[in-house]
Amino acid sequence: MARVEQAGLPAEPRTALADDLADLWGSREDLPVRVVSARVSTAHRLKEIWRARELLVFLVRSELKVRYKNSFLGFLWSFLNPAMVLLIYYVVFRYIEHTQLSDFAVFLFCGLLPWNLFNTAILSSAGTLVANAGIVKKVAFPREILALSQVGVALSYFFFQTCILVVFLVGFQVMPEWRYLPEVLLALVCDIVFSAALALVLSALNVYMRDIEHLIQVVMVALFFAEPIVYPYSSVQSHLANHGLTWLYLANPLTAMVLAFQRCIYGNVKSTATTPSYTVRKGLLITHIVHTPIQSLANYGTGFYLELMGGMLAGSLLLFYVAMLIFRRVEGNFAEEL
């Protein structure tokens, strides 16, 4: 008898937890009440999105599956574009501009990772509501899921690209600075929230103004150079400081993310500038090659990064909240606009 009771014990907390969850999210048994109205609270919306999380997974999975199935090279196509970007910038900056950063490919990759996540998420989510007009018009589900699923797709690419980065790191024998990993994770969360917020707004607005999709592509090209991805932060730092624009440059959440990624992954790479110097000794001109270490990354401390990241995360969350409000405001007319 005692044995039975003991065996039954561990199950106790789990059922209690399940009950709590059921209370929180509602279960089939107590017939959840759904309200269709012009005014629904954001908390209610978030709850609905949370309930549809499995749908999100299915949508991401089927999106990947469709892309994979449809073409000869399948999944690889989606990496062709980032790979090309990497290759072109590498060639241009290494062999034409003669950058002094060592392991320049790794440096590029660090910046491209958070950028690609943002870029892919925004570009593909802008058109998603229009592309999925069929279900938006006929099926009731939280439409935010469509935009969010594109962020999910971008996130899965991010993870695949991270795997490739690992290969690079091994190849170039670069060891990341693991101490800074928490900031990277924070930056990743920031990146996801920020992308999701913009994805929501842009996908919703694109229903009403279909050229937004094209506008974004143009803006993205410009935005790419607003972060120290292809050039080191140090090369702009003094210019910015001279004009008092450092705050503006750092207000771009993507800059903060790129810096965090670089600090962790590229932080251990030492770059040196090689400059010839001349001295005259005993009437002879002697040429030395001087190796001076150069500061390629931002020379800020951890406190600064945490502050920056915290600010960015707070800003992104606020933006996400506003995005939800905007989305909800215009969502009511999707079915008739499409």
């Binding site: 089939r28 017939l31 959840p32 009440v33 759904r34 309200v35 269709v36 109205s37 012009a38 005014r39 309930r51 549809a52 499995e54 749908l55 299915f58 949508l59 089927s62 599956k65 469709v66 199935k69 449809n70 999925n132 069929g134 279900i135 938006v136 018009k137 006929k138 099926v139 009731a140 589900f141 009403y208 103004m209 279909r210 050229d211 937004i212 506008l215 969502e331 009511g332 007319n333 079915a335 008739e336 606009e337």
Partner: protein, 419 residues
């Protein structure tokens, strides 16, 4: 118990633009001066649908019935008012909406069912049922783009009904697949009814409504005209239909006149070509209030023709009290109707009906289901009293004979059927 669906003061405004600008450039160019007018597709609808009820929403094309259903489904957000739904909802606004042609049937079941709000575990559980219901066992791993249109809708329907919703919304999608599959769909709907689920059906086909629904709501120009038992509502719907044929727009404020043995005159709008002035029942025994089963009966209808009609047919139908159709005749040989008074007599050589009161509806219309010029519903009501022992609706001649093992035949028992 609270209602399954509460619709409170729901209005929906559509903004109709004379020209639609769908780009940022155009919006900036035409900022602030886009001509539009508001169109209220729904105006202050109040409706309660109880748990376990099957409600039909009947209306002409463009009356707002589908808009209401879409609002209930949550696809459209009402401009004012709110809708409360209690329970899991599945809406069949379009079958197979959201199927991804590149994916297999299996993946699409998961995708579609989760779009409808099912969890992964629930889908796992009903997956086999869905496949069996759609009869797609062999093709479930094929890409949906290779499916025939029949397979496509079958899969869509199978997913929707296997969601096991507490509230099911159906928008004229039951007419899918071949007859056998339709039968299966209807069976499933009936099972839902028996299980006490709430169903809301939208249609412009009154006959399906009569078979399916407990209550029918009639919507015209965005307003709720009436909610009531199917027979009553359908009659009202026909009034609305006819009136809007003549003077489009306004909802008529005519109350339905309950049929009696004496005829109820149809509302006489001036531009109607034919008017049914009166209708009466003639029997062989005018001294009795009730007819007996099997007696002959004649329905005499007086018409007033104001403009000559070259080809019309006369139809009549017989309905039970529960609004089941017993008999329907749509008219065959087209006749000419000259201006003036005319009389049509529908003679039943025998009316083998049992206890109850039966309505006869009559109509004058163009051949082959064309325009209805005039109708009267009901034209007459026939009360029948059965002096015999049988119960039911129809009196069938029956003898019962017993043959025992001894080879002797008992005399046949014959019910006392007056002939």
């Amino acid at each position: 118990m609270a209602a399954a669906v509460e619709v409170q003061g729901v209005s929906k405004r559509f903004r109709l633009y004379e020209e639609k600008y769908t780009s940022l450039k155009e919006r900036i160019l035409h900022a602030g001066k886009v001509p539009y007018h508001d169109f209220w597709a729904l105006k202050g609808i109040d409706l309660e649908i109880a748990h376990g009820e099957t409600l039909g929403i009947l209306g002409r094309n463009g009356s707002g019935k589908s808009t209401l259903l879409k609002c209930i489904a949550g696809v459209l957000k009402p401009s004012a008012g709110e809708i409360r739904l209690r329970g899991q909802l599945a809406a069949m606004l379009e079958l197979g909406a959201g199927f991804q042609p590149e994916l297999s049937g299996r993946d699409n079941i998961y995708l579609n069912a989760s779009l409808l709000g099912l969890s992964r575990r629930e889908i796992d559980k009903s997956f086999d049922d869905i496949v069996a219901f759609a009869e797609l066992e062999e093709f479930i791993d094929n890409q949906v783009r290779f499916y025939s249109s029949g397979m496509y809708v079958r899969l869509g329907f199978a997913v929707a009904v296997n969601v096991n919703p507490d509230i099911l919304l159906v928008d004229e999608v039951l007419a899918v697949g071949d007859e056998r599959f339709q039968q299966k769909c209807m069976e499933r709907i009936h099972r839902f009814q028996k299980e006490g689920r709430t169903i809301v059906v939208v249609s412009h086909a009154p006959d399906m409504m009569r078979q399916l629904c407990n209550r029918v709501a009639v919507i015209n120009s965005g307003q709720l005209v009436t909610v009531g038992n199917p027979g009553q509502s359908i009659r009202r719907f026909r009034d609305v239909l006819m009136d809007s044929d003549e003077n489009t727009g306004a909802v008529p404020a005519v109350e339905i006149e309950e049929g009696s043995l004496a005829a109820a005159p149809a509302p006489p709008p001036s531009n109607r070509k034919v008017r049914i002035v009166a209708a009466r029942l003639e029997t062989d025994h005018p001294e009795r209030t009730n007819m007996h089963p099997g007696e002959p009966a004649r329905v005499v209808v007086d018409l007033e023709v104001t403009s000559e009609l070259s080809q019309v047919v006369f139809g009549c139908s017989l309905w039970s009290q529960g609004d089941d159709l017993i008999f329907n005749y749509e008219g065959a040989e087209p006749r000419r109707l000259p201006i003036g008074r005319s009389q049509v007599t529908f003679s039943f050589a025998s009316l083998p009906l049992l206890d109850g009161s039966y309505s006869v509806n009559v109509k004058v219309q163009e051949p082959a289901g064309g325009t209805v010029h005039a109708r009267m519903e009901p034209a007459v009501v026939i009360p029948v009293e059965n002096p015999g022992l049988t119960t039911g609706m129809v009196s069938l001649p029956l003898t019962v004979e017993l043959t025992t093992g001894t080879g002797q035949s008992e005399p046949a028992l014959v019910d006392q059927l007056p002939t």
